[in-house]
């Protein structure tokens, strides 16, 4: 019997089942709240940034100095291109400054947000750019201020697209939590790495993966349905 098959013998499966009952509930909870909180913070920073990227553009409704826009773009691209594993280490001082420690679930939120907000900003940017420019022109022709165009036209009109993209963000961040779990964070990622990688308990690893996959399915389904329900362009 090879090593792989040996990982799924009766007693190994029983042990995995035991871990599922004892450690998974907390791990699942940690993963969910870290994912949700990280996504929320990433949106809080990324949404205004994404709006800025669109409105401050040369052809946007309120062009900003080119140097500023260039800087913002470079910073976003930089953060997006640093591998997450490296980023976790890079932001350790920031994590310590904010949370007080760099270990644990709460601490893992910091690198997750730093990694996710530029991603969210780009998603928001692409959502807002989908909007028909004629609609913006209409709003201008009716005497909208820049702020009114953003709050009363751009955002409300982009809601379905934003929800779809935020769903993409949350599922991606969920994947990242597994990585931060391996780097001192909590959650299912930590369980999968600790048991599966460090102690060769593959059954536990696979169980953790299955739960993560299910979690992605849940987030994705909720997001897709919500976007469809919110979209008034679909004839019902």
């Amino acid at each position: 019997m090879n090593q792989f098959a040996m990982a799924f013998t009766q007693d190994k499966l029983e042990e995995a089942w035991h871990v599922l009952l004892t450690e998974f509930p907390l791990g699942l909870w940690e993963t969910v709240y870290v994912t949700v909180l990280s996504t929320l913070f990433a949106i809080v920073i990324g949404l205004p940034l994404g709006i800025l990227l669109v409105t401050g553009d040369e052809k946007g409704i309120r062009p900003l100095p080119r140097a500023l826009m260039k800087t913002v773009n470079v910073v976003i691209n930089f953060l997006r291109s640093v591998p997450f594993l490296i980023l976790i280490v890079m932001v350790i001082p920031l994590t310590r400054a904010i949370v007080g420690t760099s270990i644990g679930s709460v601490a893992s939120i910091v690198p997750l947000v730093v990694a996710a907000f530029p991603f969210v900003a780009r998603l928001v940017e692409s959502s807002l750019r989908e909007l028909d420019p004629n609609i913006i022109e209409m709003a201008q022709s009716m005497g909208s201020s820049t702020w009114q165009i953003i709050t009363r036209v751009m955002l409300p009109e982009s809601v379905p697209s934003l929800v779809t993209n935020f769903t993409l963000a949350i599922t991606t961040i969920l994947g990242y939590t597994a990585m931060s779990g391996a780097m001192g964070g909590g959650g299912l990622g930590k369980i999968a790495i600790n048991y599966g990688y460090s102690r060769y308990k593959y059954a536990v690893l696979y169980l953790a993966v299955i739960v993560l996959v299910l979690l992605v399915q849940v987030f994705q389904t909720i997001g897709t349905r919500l976007a469809a329900r919110l979209d008034k362009r679909i004839k019902k």
Binding site: D132, N134, I135, E137, M138, A139, Q140, S141, M142, G143, S144, S145, Q148, R152, V153, P156, E157, V159, P160, L230, D231, K232, R233, I234, K235
Partner: protein, 357 residues
């Protein structure tokens, strides 16, 4: 001469509502500057339904966007009821845009808002209290004939219905000028008719000044009392619809009025091209060309003919070729000139000159 202004829908004394003075607009493109508008001068009276017609690329859209300053003119000025819009601050401009509203070819409704919310949109921008805005929006739903669509989303409406909602939205702030940018170009002929009828009715009821941008001759004929023909960014002809269409002077106008009769193509090259315009059905009944052949011995070659109804008047239009030299031409012109209600134009590009009645 027909009485000028005989097709005026509503005339409130002739105050200048919109005045464009020496308006020019240049766009900087990769291939250098493009002159979109070239020294345009226009006056639109209060209560007019003013048509601005031209082929695509003539500068119509730029012109209409200069009127509400969505495009800043490079030179010249736009006067709204005597007030120069060029020097206004951003805030002032926003309030002017509640007086000069716009409807579009693609309707541009907020697809994620109900019809009622769409109509309330400009009122919300103007910070009108919600109850008041809602009452006004409901009133406008009645005006445009869609009282039962308040809570329906635009996606559930037909094109014509969407344009009606857009019209209601444009009227919400009780503007003095309504700009229609190819408002019926995306609609079928029947729906176009009903939308034009609605615009005419609103003009009649409220006295609102309407500026209609279109490439469709039929739209201008249907509702406008005055018209300007735009070509390559310049106004080539301007005046009362009846007059401009009955005696089209500029080539661009003729191409628009009688698109199927382009000059030059059909000529045999042996004679002089002459254009005849018959006014009213009485003259179109007389066999003028046949009798000229018998009386003068000039066998004119008919290159094309058609009739048009402008307003309620019929116009016949004929392009003929007079064979022979200047003597025959003079003879023919003299003969035709005796007929009543016929305007004769000798084609300029064949060395001719314009001859009036």
């Amino acid at each position: 001469m027909p009485a000028s202004g005989m097709f005026l829908i509503k005339h409130k004394g002739g105050d200048n509502m919109i005045e464009l003075r020496n308006l020019s607009k240049r766009f900087m493109t990769a291939d250098g500057p493009v002159e979109a508008l070239n020294n345009v001068n226009l006056t639109v009276n209060d209560g007019d339904i003013y048509g601005i017609i031209g082929m695509s690329g003539a500068g119509k859209s730029t012109l209409v966007r200069c009127i509400n300053m969505l495009e800043r003119p490079t030179e010249g000025s736009v006067l709204l009821d005597g007030r120069d819009l060029g020097g206004l601050s951003k805030k002032e401009m926003q309030s002017v845009r509640r007086e000069v509203t716009m409807i579009f070819q693609s309707f541009n409704l907020l697809m994620q808002s109900t019809c009622l919310q769409n109509i309330m949109f400009p009122l919300k921008l103007a910070r009108v209290p919600k109850a008041e805005a809602e009452a006004r929006a409901k009133e406008l739903l009645n005006t445009v004939g869609l009282p039962d669509k308040a809570n329906v989303y635009p996606a559930q409406l037909s094109g014509g219905q969407q344009q009606r909602i857009a019209i209601a939205r444009a009227l919400a702030t009780r503007p003095r000028v309504l700009l229609c940018d190819e408002a019926t170009s995306a609609l079928d002929p029947k729906t176009t008719q009903s939308i034009l009828e609605l615009i005419r009715q609103i003009n009649r009821d409220t006295g609102i000044t309407v500026i209609v941008i279109t490439h469709q001759m039929s739209v201008v004929q249907e509702i406008c009392n005055r018209v300007a023909i735009l070509e390559h960014g310049a106004v080539v002809e301007e005046g009362d619809v009846s007059q401009v269409f009955s005696r089209p002077k500029a080539k661009a106008t003729r191409a628009l009025v009688f698109p199927d009769m382009t000059e030059g193509q059909m000529s045999s090259g042996y004679g002089q091209l002459v254009r005849l315009i018959f006014e009213g059905s009485v003259t179109t009944n007389k066999p003028l060309i046949a009798s000229m052949a018998m009386d003068c011995g000039i066998a004119a070659n008919i290159l094309g003919a058609s009739t048009r109804t402008v307003g309620k008047r019929e116009y016949g239009y004929m392009l003929i070729e007079i064979p022979g030299g200047p003597d025959e031409l003079a003879k023919a012109l003299k003969y035709i000139g005796r007929a009543e209600n016929v305007t004769v134009q000798v084609e300029a590009e064949y060395g001719g000159r314009e001859v009036s009645e």
